[in-house]
C-alpha cells in the first residue's frame, strides 16, 4: 500500500470510530428525550386507549434512532479526523501535517520525509481505539423518566379532568342560553327588561337592611343582588380618568399642610361670609363712595355674629357710632378691625381646635367658665401669632399655666424627684414642697397636661405629617390612661 493510502486507511478507520461514537452519544441523548416524550401517551392512556403503550415505545425508539442517525451523519472534515488520530496515537501532528502538505503540488524534501515518517509510524500502530466513548450528561438523569415510564405503563389509566367548569347557576339560569337560540338581538332585549324589576327589588331590600342599622355583613340575598346588577355592569367607567383622579388625590395627600380639615365646613365660616359681603360692599368703589346703608347692614351682621362668642363687639359698636355721626371712614376702619379679629379667631380655631384632646378642651372650657361669660380672655384680643405661648407677646404669664397643673384630679399621683443641680429654669419655681429638704413632688397628670399643651401647640404650629400627629397624640393618650 502506498504512503498516502496508509494514511487514508487510518483516517477512514478513525472516521468510522468517530461516527460510531457520535451515534452512541447522540443516540443516548435521543433516548433520554424520547423517554420524556413517551410519558405523554402514557399519561393520556385513558384518551388514547390500548395503543398508548405502543405509541410510547415508538416515541422512545424513534427518539433514539433519529438522534443516533443525526450523530452518525454529522459533518466530519478530514483535518479533524487527522487531528483526532494524531492525538489518539501520540503522533504529534504528523498525520495532519503530512496530509496537508502532501496534497500541495510543491513539496519540499522535508515533506517527503514527513510523509514517509508518518506512514511508517501509522503502520506500526496497534489496533487500539482512537476515540473513547463519551456519555451525554443527560444519561445520569435517565433512570428517573424510565422509572416513571414503567410506572405509568403498569398503572391503570389516569382519569383526566372533563375540561368543563362546574356550573354554579340555578336551573332557571341554565335554561337561558336555550332561549337565546335564534335571533340574539330579539331575545336579549326582553331578558333585560325582565330582569330589571327583580334587580330593583333586591337592591331596595339591601339598602333597607343597611338603614336599619345592620352591620353591613353580607347576606345571600344582598350578594345575589349585587352580582345580578346589570345596570352596574352596563356602566363602562373610563379607566384613564379614574387613574387621573387617583393621581390627583395622591398628589394632594403628599401636601399634608394643604389638606383640608374635612370635619369642618369652611364655606360656612362667619369670617368668609363677612369677607365676601365686604368685597361686595366695596365693589371697586373708593371708601368715600361706599354706601352707609350697606355698611350698616354689614356691621349689624358682624355684631350678630360677635354675640355668638366673638370679641369684636366693641369695634362694631364704634362703627355704629361713627355711622350715626356720618363718619363713614371711621365706620369702615372699625369694620376692618372687627374683620381682622374674626380672621384671627378663625385662624386660631383652624390651627389648634381639631388637634386638641377632650380633656384639654374641658379644662379650657372650665377655665373660661371660671372667668365668667363677660371675661374676654386676653389671648383673644391679641393678633395672630402673638401671646399664644407662655412668655410670648402680651401673655402676662410667661411661665405657663401653673394653676392648671396643680389642680389635678383626685386620682392624680405625685411623682417624687430631687431638685437637680445647676442652672434652674423658670419651671422650677412651680415645684411643690417646703424646700430642698423635702423631695419635690410633681403631679403626674399636671405635668402630662403641661407637656400635652406644648405638644398641641407644636403640632398646630409646625408642619408635621398627619400620621406623625396621630402617633404623637396616641402616645399622650396612652400616658393619660395610666
Amino acid at each position: 500500500m502506498t504512503g498516502p493510502g496508509v494514511l487514508e486507511r487510518l483516517l477512514s478507520q478513525v472516521r468510522w470510530q468517530i461516527r460510531r461514537r457520535r451515534a452512541e452519544f447522540y443516540g443516548l441523548r435521543g433516548i433520554f428525550y424520547g423517554v420524556i416524550l413517551a410519558l405523554v401517551p402514557l399519561v393520556l392512556k385513558e384518551v388514547l386507549g390500548p395503543p398508548a403503550p405502543l405509541m410510547a415505545l415508538g416515541l422512545l425508539l424513534l427518539g433514539g434512532a433519529a438522534a443516533a442517525a443525526f450523530g452518525f451523519w454529522l459533518r466530519l472534515s478530514p483535518a479533524d479526523v487527522a487531528r483526532v488520530a494524531d492525538r489518539a496515537f501520540g503522533l504529534r501532528d504528523r498525520v495532519a501535517t503530512a496530509l496537508e502538505w502532501g496534497r500541495r503540488p510543491e513539496r519540499s524534501p522535508l515533506v517527503e520525509l514527513l510523509v514517509a515518517d508518518a506512514v511508517a509510524r501509522v503502520q506500526g500502530l496497534d489496533g487500539r481505539r482512537a476515540v473513547l466513548r463519551r456519555r451525554p450528561p443527560e444519561l445520569r438523569l435517565l433512570p428517573l423518566p424510565v422509572i416513571l415510564l414503567v410506572i405509568l405503563a403498569l398503572a391503570p389509566p389516569i382519569p383526566l379532568p372533563t375540561g368543563r367548569l362546574p356550573t354554579f347557576s340555578s336551573a332557571e339560569e341554565a335554561e337561558v342560553p336555550e332561549e337565546r337560540e335564534g335571533n340574539v338581538l330579539s331575545v336579549e332585549r326582553p331578558n333585560a327588561t325582565r330582569r330589571e324589576p327583580l334587580q330593583r327589588a333586591e337592591l331596595t331590600e339591601r339598602a333597607f337592611s343597611l338603614q336599619q342599622g345592620g352591620t353591613g355583613a353580607s347576606q345571600p340575598g344582598d350578594l345575589s343582588a349585587v352580582f345580578k346588577d346589570t345596570a352596574l355592569a352596563a356602566q363602562r367607567p373610563d379607566f384613564q380618568s379614574f387613574l387621573k383622579k387617583g393621581d390627583e388625590r395622591l398628589r394632594m395627600l403628599e401636601q399634608v399642610d394643604r389638606l383640608p380639615d374635612l370635619k369642618r365646613d369652611f364655606t360656612q365660616s362667619p369670617y368668609k361670609m363677612v369677607f365676601q359681603k365686604r368685597r361686595e360692599l366695596f365693589g371697586g368703589l373708593r371708601p368715600d363712595q361706599v354706601s352707609p346703608q350697606k355698611l350698616r347692614e354689614l356691621l349689624e351682621e358682624m355684631d350678630r355674629l360677635g354675640r355668638k362668642g366673638g370679641n369684636w363687639g366693641y369695634e362694631t359698636g364704634e362703627g355704629f357710632d361713627a355711622l350715626e355721626q356720618g363718619q363713614t371712614d371711621r365706620a369702615l376702619e372699625a369694620m376692618e378691625k372687627a374683620l381682622s379679629k374674626m380672621r384671627a379667631l378663625e385662624e386660631r380655631g383652624r390651627d389648634g381646635r381639631a388637634l386638641r384632646g377632650g380633656r384639654e378642651e374641658d379644662r379650657r372650657g372650665s377655665r373660661s367658665r371660671d372667668r365668667g361669660a363677660g371675661g374676654d380672655d386676653i389671648d383673644a384680643d391679641l393678633g395672630e401669632g402673638q401671646g399664644l405661648l407662655p412668655g410670648k407677646g402680651w401673655n402676662p404669664n410667661p411661665k405657663g399655666d401653673p394653676t392648671g397643673r396643680l389642680r389635678a384630679s383626685p386620682y392624680d399621683a405625685g411623682v417624687e424627684g430631687e431638685s437637680r443641680t445647676g442652672r434652674r429654669e423658670g419651671f422650677d419655681t412651680n415645684l411643690v414642697g417646703k424646700g430642698a429638704s423635702v423631695p419635690s413632688r410633681l403631679q403626674y397628670l399636671g405635668v402630662i397636661g403641661q407637656y400635652r399643651k406644648m405638644m398641641e401647640e407644636a403640632l398646630a404650629r409646625e408642619q408635621i405629617p398627619r400620621d406623625y400627629q396621630t402617633q404623637v397624640k396616641e402616645y399622650f393618650e396612652s400616658l393619660e390612661e395610666k
Binding site: 454529522l74 487531528r83 501532528d93 504528523r94 495532519a96 501535517t97 496537508e100 519540499s108 522535508l110
Partner: protein, 337 residues
Amino acid sequence: MGNAERVREFVEAFRNLKAEVQKIIVGYDEVVTDVLVGLFAGGHILLEGVPGLGKTLLIKTLAEGLELSFSRIQFTPDLMPADIIGTNIILEDADGRRHFQFQRGPIFAHILLADEVNRATPKTQSALLEGMQEGTVTVSGASHRLPSPFFVLATQNPIEMEGTYPLPEAQLDRFLFKLRVTYPALEELNEIIDRTTQPGTAEVRRVMTGPEVLRFRELVREVPIAAHVRELASLIVMATHPTWEHTPEVTRRFVRYGSSPRGAQALVLGGKVRALADGRYNVSVEDLRAVAPSALRHRIILNFEGEAEGADVDTMIGQVLEQAEAQSRRGKEVFLR
C-alpha cells in the same frame, strides 16, 4: 547529501554541541536547549539570572564548542556606542598622508556576549539594535556587515536594579528568547562543586563551524507546519493582547501591551528547531507549548496593576496557552458540534 542525512546530521550536531556545553555547565538542560534553539533559529538570546549561576560561563562554553569568533563586552554605565561598534581613526601612511580608517569594535564577532547589558545607558544599548536586526552597523554613513552567523547572547541581573537601565521594549523585542537561569538543584550543585574544586578541567571540543550553523538554519526553515498549529501560534500571540475579544481575564487585567508579530515568528521558528532536534519533520502543538514562555515572557508588558500585584508572566503565559488552545479547538471538537 540526502535530506534524511541532513536531518540526521543536524540532530547529531545538536546533540553533540549540547553535550559539549554540558561538559562544563551542570544542569540547565532546558536553558542549554533553548540557547541552541536560538542559535539555529537565527535569533538572539537574553539570559536573566542572579549572579553566580553560570550564565557567562554557559555562553563562553558554547562559543568554545563552535568554530566561531567570540567577543565579550562588559557593559558599564560609561560604555559608549563607539566602544561596541567601532570608530574611525586617523591613520598616517608611509607617505605621510593621513586618512580615516574604520576600526571595528567588538561587535564584529560571530558570537557576542553582552554581559550585564542593562548596566549600560540606553544610548549604548541601542548600538546593538541595528546589528541584531539587520546584521549590519552604520558608522559615519557607511554600513559594515557583521560576520554571519551573528549571535548575540546578553545577560542581565534581575535583582540589582540600582544603577541599571532596563532594556527598552524595542531592544527586548529583538531577542528571540528570554531565558531565566534559576538556582540549580541539590544534585546539580554537588556536581558543580565536584567539577570546579578538583584538579583538571574538562576540555570543550569544537563540534560545529559557522557554515554548518548557517546550513542548519536553512534546513530549519524547511520544516513544515500544519495549518492548525500555525493558527495556534497566532492565537497564542493574540491572547497576549488585552484588547482581543477572546483574551483571558488575566491578560485583560494585567497586560498593557502584548506580543509583537516577532513573538509568533519566535514561536514557530523555535518550534521548528525543537521538532528537527527531536528528529521530527513537522512542528507540533507540544513544540509551541515548549517555546512559548521563552518566546513571550519579554514581549508581554505589564500595566501598573500587573506590576503592583507582582503578576508572574510565566503563569500568565500558561493561561494564555490554555485560552488559545481552547479557542483553537472551538467548533472542532468532534462531539461538540
